[in-house]
């Protein structure tokens, strides 16, 4: 478990607590402190039923409805809807690139989203994994994240399609990815938005993906494609790269605006505080 020590060490856990406290303070300043502070966890207003989905907490299963209707329904509460977060973590090989590697910040951010949701009495689901409820079970989420190294063949588009195929779309979806793939692959994500899923997209790029360094003849090996591309890097080439990257980011931003996503771009060298308070909060995300 050397990787867990490196990614989720004691320092990280202290950072999480500090982040939580900082966000509570900021919420208070923004006039929303009563929302979480005045109620005990779980004591929320009944809102209605929704069909059961694998991974749902069986304690919320409405056995009476099952006895009468023969189908599983989950009881939903107002607070629960707000605090249940589904995390879609990009585990494709491209996340292993960069210094520091993108997957480190991505997994830490995923853990932070989950921790904040659990801390506020909600639950967190890492896409494709069982849901986790209660902050005391936060370690389970960490274990799930540890078991999600950047080695998968599928990207976020495929994972979003899997979510879409489920009966019920998640209410709050956090997507953490480098989004360095053809934007057409985000179609399933757009489809989820149309089902009223609130999407927060955290785009993590490595510093040398934002500003490539060096010059001379380079043989680039793409981790995602496992292919090589030889080119001679110079100032004009770097300029052309940055133009293309800018185009890609603008196109992504356009999609995000069109579908009401919260989009935050960060480089993998940033820390959690910088991401959540410096980027996500200003962008409108309120974890």
């Amino acid at each position: 478990m050397a990787e867990s020590v490196e990614i989720f060490d004691a320092v990280f856990l202290r950072q999480l607590e500090a982040l939580d406290a900082a966000l509570l303070r900021l919420r208070g300043n923004l006039g929303e402190g009563a929302r979480g502070a005045g109620r005990s966890h779980g004591q929320t207003e009944f809102r209605g039923h929704r069909p059961y989905s694998p991974g749902d907490d069986l304690r919320r299963l409405d056995w009476n409805a099952y006895g009468r209707l023969g189908k599983f329904f989950m009881r939903e509460f107002e607070r629960e809807r707000a605090e249940h977060v589904t995390i879609l973590l990009d585990c494709s090989r491209s996340m292993a690139a960069g210094t520091p590697p993108k997957h480190v910040l991505a997994r830490r951010a995923a853990a932070a989203f989950g921790y904040l949701a659990l801390k506020r009495g909600g639950s967190a689901t890492l896409a494709g994994k069982p849901a986790v409820e209660g902050v005391s079970r936060f370690n389970r989420l960490l274990d799930q994240l540890i078991q999600s190294p950047p080695a998968a063949d599928i990207g976020i588009g495929d994972q979003a399609a899997a979510l879409q195929s489920r009966g019920r779309a998640p209410s709050d979806l956090v997507v953490i990815s480098d989004c360095l793939e053809p934007l057409e692959t985000l179609q399933p994500l757009q489809a989820l938005s149309e089902k009223r899923t609130a999407v927060t997209l955290v785009q993590v790029l490595a510093p040398d993906e934002l500003e490539p360094a060096g010059n001379g003849l380079l043989q680039l090996r793409g981790l995602e494609e496992n292919e090589t591309l030889e080119l001679e890097l110079d100032a004009s080439m770097v300029e052309a790269y940055q133009r293309e990257l800018e185009k890609h980011l603008e196109a992504l931003e356009t999609i995000a605006l069109r579908h009401g996503w919260t989009l935050a771009l960060t480089d993998s060298a940033a820390d959690l505080r910088e991401l959540f308070i410096g980027k996500l909060l200003p962008a409108g995300a309120m974890p």
Binding site: R93, S94, M95, A96, A97, G98, K102, D178, L180, E181, P182, A206, E209, A213, G214, G216, L217, L218, Q219, L220, R221, G222, L223, E224, E225, E227, L229, E230, L231, E232, M237, A240, Y241, E244, L245, H248
Partner: protein, 457 residues
């Protein structure tokens, strides 16, 4: 410039490593990226393949120049300037063993021939290994290769290609350079004009020709004393004593013994015994048993010293009718063979070659001259030296005789000339300047590397 100096070789190796590293790093550098998505779009924009630019890496060239200049400096390059004083090598021929060196005169003549030059003298026994004049001159040529000029001080005129001066200031007279002969006659040769005396021998004749006096003496004693211009030498004759045994008793035997010219015993042990059956080394006769040798043939090795220069056809080895029965631990020299089968020996060696046995008596039956030859060989086989080869008189006291050239040394006209036009040069090294330049280049490379790192940072 010494390219074999190890620091230079080390630095040159470093330069080679540097070049190899540069060549190795000149290929495409590998870099991992998350995805090629953006890069492929960029590459598509480059419609025509860019011509690969020739990379100029100033850091590499600065380092290479520093190492190259440093290696040249380490080889200690130098330019040469003419030496202010000519260096001349002078060969002094020996005047002979025990003869006066006459160095002061020789030195003065050399200095007069090369005024102002720095002279270095070479003499046999010191800088040069003694030998023949030709061998000594060859050594001198090798040692004097780097000198501006060469002077030879020789006993005799020579047509060498350099300046040749006389080794001696006045002609030498009465210096013996040869004493040869045997116990009956001695030949003595000396440079003319001096007195030569030989005690223990009577002067038979004397003649002088082309500066050399030849004297003939008849020795009368075992010890001779030779006195010439400045030295005294004693020569002695090594006595050759022959013992005889009971079977060496015929007149023919006595005649042969007289022909050997053996010395009287006078207490000395015989070098060989003839006819004795007990003493060693010995030549024994009639040691075989009577045998029928009709129809037998001979088997022997004609290259054996017993048969050296011997008219083999003059001997009838089988006529004696005696044969030595085959034995172990003997060396057959002459074997009788019947129908291809050895039947016995006619002559053989035993006791480790110290005793030569004859089955019969080959001396009495042969002609005197032939018998003398056979006896000469037989004694040579057991004693190691044939009586005909034994030395006459040998030097017992005093120095060896000088060579004829040394004994007849005389002043002569100066020959050849000293050419000092090609003056040797003195090296002036400039390695220090090159080292300083290499240091500057390294400093520039360090500054460049530091700036590059700062820019990257």
């Amino acid at each position: 410039m010494r390219l074999l100096a190890w620091p230079a070789l080390l630095l040159l190796t470093a330069a080679a490593v540097l070049v190899a590293l540069a060549a190795w790093s000149r290929g495409a550098k590998q870099r991992e990226v998350g995805t090629l998505l953006i890069w492929r779009r960029v590459a598509q924009q480059v419609t025509a393949p860019r011509r690969k630019r020739r990379e100029f890496d100033p850091l590499f060239w600065l380092l290479l120049a520093a190492v190259a200049v440093g290696s040249i400096a380490a080889s200690r390059p130098a330019w040469f300037t003419a030496a202010p004083q000519a260096r001349v090598a002078v060969y002094l021929e020996s005047t002979g063993p025990g003869e006066p060196l006459e160095l002061d005169d020789a030195r003065a003549r050399a200095q007069a021939a090369a005024p102002g030059a720095e002279l270095t003298f070479f003499m046999a026994g010191q800088e040069i290994t003694p030998g023949s004049l030709r061998a000594e001159l060859a050594q001198f040529e090798t040692r004097a290769r780097d000198y501006d000029g060469r002077i030879l001080l020789l006993n005799q005129p020579s047509d060498e290609a350099t300046l040749v001066l006389p080794r001696v200031g006045k002609a030498r007279a009465g210096v013996v350079f040869k004493l040869a002969g045997d116990r009956r006659e001695l030949l003595v040769q000396a440079s003319a004009g001096g007195e030569v005396r030989l005690q223990g021998a009577g002067l038979a004749s004397s003649s002088t020709r082309e500066g050399v006096t030849t004297l003939r003496f008849e020795p009368t004693a075992l010890e001779l004393v030779l006195t010439d211009a400045g030295s005294r030498r004693v020569y002695r004759r090594k006595p050759f004593v022959v013992g005889t045994g009971e079977s060496w008793n015929t007149e023919a035997h006595a005649a042969l013994l007289q022909a050997l010219e053996a010395d009287p015993a006078e207490g000395a042990a015989p070098a060989v015994w003839l006819g004795s059956t007990e003493q060693k080394p010995a030549v024994r006769m009639n040691t075989g048993a009577p045998a029928e040798l009709r129809g037998a043939s001979l088997s022997f090795d004609p290259r054996h010293p017993l048969f050296h220069d011997l008219p083999l056809a003059q001997y009838d080895w089988l006529a004696g009718g005696r044969l030595l029965a085959p034995e172990e631990d003997v060396q057959p020299l002459l074997t009788a063979v019947v129908d291809g089968v050895p039947v016995g020996d006619l002559a053989r060696l035993r006791d480790g070659g110290r005793v030569l046995e004859f089955a019969g008596d080959p001396f009495s039956a042969a002609a005197v001259a032939d018998a003398a030859l056979l006896l000469d060989n037989a004694i040579g086989v057991v004693a190691g030296t044939r009586p005909s080869e034994r030395p006459g008189y040998e030097l017992a006291e005093g120095d060896p005789l000088p060579t004829r050239g040394q004994a007849t040394a005389a002043p002569f006209e100066t020959q050849g000339k000293l050419d000092l036009s090609r003056r040797s040069a003195e090296p002036v090294e400039f390695a220090g300047w090159l080292m300083a330049l290499a240091g500057l280049l390294l400093a520039a490379a360090a500054v460049l590397a530091g700036r590059g790192k700062a820019l990257r940072g």
